[in-house]
Symmetry: C2
Subunit: 196 residues, 2 copies
């Protein structure tokens, strides 16, 4: 015996989600059908609405429902200071730190020539057109090989303009014992030590 | 900054799924929006269709799209032999063993007076009306306290009729070393030993 067609289709559809394999998909399907059809219906409607309605901000490429995202539309924020991050989740993390009052530019990825992701795919042509209005760029891409390469590429692109560029500090995280910090991070923290 | 309303609504909706907390929900939402809007749309449609279209078989209470599920509608299967299980997933597990040619009765739960789940909620009134056409009942509820209690309740209900009742064997799983089997299972396996 197989699942009935509608059940099988829902199980297969759930496996598009990250971290969801056939067994979790079956559990989710049965759970919704047995105990929470209303929640399943709401999830369907929310999915439909988000997939159709969520666009990208025409200024920073973050998710937005209007032409501009709330940050780019907010005139109280410093629109001449731009923090470059890889994903919308990074924006959220920086916003939650409460330290930043400029705006963002979201690459939606990083340079990865092997996957066909070049400067245009991560929106650097759009960023280049905005350089005239920008005074400071903060490179907050990841500290992975790809994140570093992307940061270097942007640095090269901006060189020769009047824009000041910085990279977020790399070092030991706050509130932790040194013994639990990995070697690469410690080496970087020593190399970037600040004179007091 | 918060998520935009459509994004927040989708994140909240994902948390209805079992095993999905706010962080996984955010990861799923971003992943679909960034990389697989088509898959998200298909998931929405599959959810909608399943929540609306999946009903319960009028004979065995398993999930079905028509009045009868494929097993109950299959005249080549022995309709007088009924295996009682707690959930549709149990039906699938038994079907995959390939050993069984009778039909099923799916309780969709087990007796749990404390949660207000009595005999009627698990369909025992429907089962009682079918007893005239049943020759053998196999109790395959779980080996938990609730599963055992439910099996006993059904045994009491059937007593006095001509239906023969059995309980699936409990003992040591196939293909495993004895040293990894828990004590309760070993005790049961010894108690239920078969003379050869």
């Amino acid at each position: 015996m197989k699942h009935s067609p509608l059940v099988q289709r829902l199980i297969d559809s759930f496996t598009v989600l990250p971290g969801v394999g056939p067994r979790s998909a079956q559990r989710m399907t049965y759970w919704l059908l047995e105990r929470n059809r209303e929640g399943g219906g709401r999830l369907a409607a929310a999915l439909e609405a988000a997939m159709q309605g969520v666009r990208h901000c025409s200024c920073c490429r973050n998710f937005a429902e209007d032409d501009l995202c709330p940050v780019c539309a907010d005139q109280r924020r410093d629109q001449s200071q731009v923090c470059i991050v890889e994903s919308p989740a990074d924006v959220l993390a920086i916003e939650q730190s409460g330290e930043y009052r400029g705006r963002y530019f979201v690459l939606m990825g990083h340079l990865s020539p092997i996957d066909g992701i070049g400067p245009e795919e991560i929106g650097l042509n759009l960023l280049e057109r905005q350089l005239g209005q920008i005074q400071e760029l903060i490179l907050a891409t990841g500290t992975t090989v790809e994140g570093e390469a992307t940061a270097h590429y942007i640095l090269d692109m901006v060189r020769g303009t009047s824009v000041s560029v910085s990279r977020i500090a790399q070092g030991v995280p706050m509130g932790g014992d040194l013994e639990f910090v990995d070697g690469a991070t410690l080496a970087q923290a020593l190399k970037s030590r600040r004179h007091l």
